[in-house]
């Protein structure tokens, strides 16, 4: 240790004495922490059905938009078309999604849920609603709406 530097002060983290400086005042610090916390529990719940949160989103969109093409779906989710093709391959192998010839474009497929796909999507929607209610148990309806609206404004600003 050199003499011209202040001696390090031992930090007692057991007593929570770490100084987080500007971090707690940053949305950019709190946002990923919240995302990690909420996602971990949700992913665990969905995994019991051998699915990921991303697959749940895709199933929900196909269920709400039967006939959607892979390209349109990729665009709606915001991922590359090639990635979406792999996602649909997996869901088709699992017997949850069907590719049918598109009535408007021979080069693309119209996607639809199978009976099993519809069933698991309904199950997952209920599970997701339960998860949200648990995570937001102490939020008023107005606080929930405020959070969602502020998050959407953030997305719009980026």
């Amino acid at each position: 240790m050199t003499r011209d530097r202040p001696r390090p002060v031992p930090i007692d983290t057991a007593k929570g004495k770490v100084d987080y400086d500007i971090l707690p005042s940053l949305v950019g610090y709190n946002l990923p922490r919240a995302q990690i916390a909420v996602f971990a529990k949700f992913a665990t719940a969905v995994a019991e059905h051998q699915l990921t949160p991303g697959q749940f989103g895709v199933l929900t969109l196909i269920g709400a938009n039967p006939g959607l093409t892979q390209s349109a779906l990729a665009k709606a989710v915001g991922i590359e078309r090639s990635t979406m093709v792999a996602v649909i391959d997996g869901l088709q192998r699992a017997g949850l999604v069907e590719r049918r010839p598109s009535p408007i474009d021979r080069r693309s497929y119209a996607l639809a849920l199978t009976g099993a796909g519809q069933k698991i999507t309904e199950t997952l929607k209920n599970l997701v609603a339960d998860h949200e209610n648990r995570v937001l148990s102490d939020f008023s309806d107005s606080e929930r709406d405020t959070l969602i609206s502020l998050l959407q404004r953030l997305v719009g600003n980026c």
Copy 2:
């Protein structure tokens, strides 16, 4: 196409006619979208200084808590100690962090920023503040506080 199924309705995503069903009403849908959007720009800005957002967080904590041990830092950040050792290795190689003998525990190191580390941490703090102000340009102070407080409550609920 079988006859007993409804014919898929082509979706015109160009006109934004995809039905997102329950997704936009879910915090679990809006949270990762906001996280991805905010993080992408921030990571790009920090990368110009050859650092990641995670490294910025670590530098800030060491700067605010000189003498912090690697274990205490890992705990404060919420990652494994072994992962933190690798992070510190990288920051030490870059000449930004020093490991000094701990005055309270021979088996651990007390961490401190070097002069270069202090300089870049200050630069990054300003850059991060600018980034936050840009992303939150249309947020009032009260809205910014509300967002952070709601995100922190989410973390507390998980």
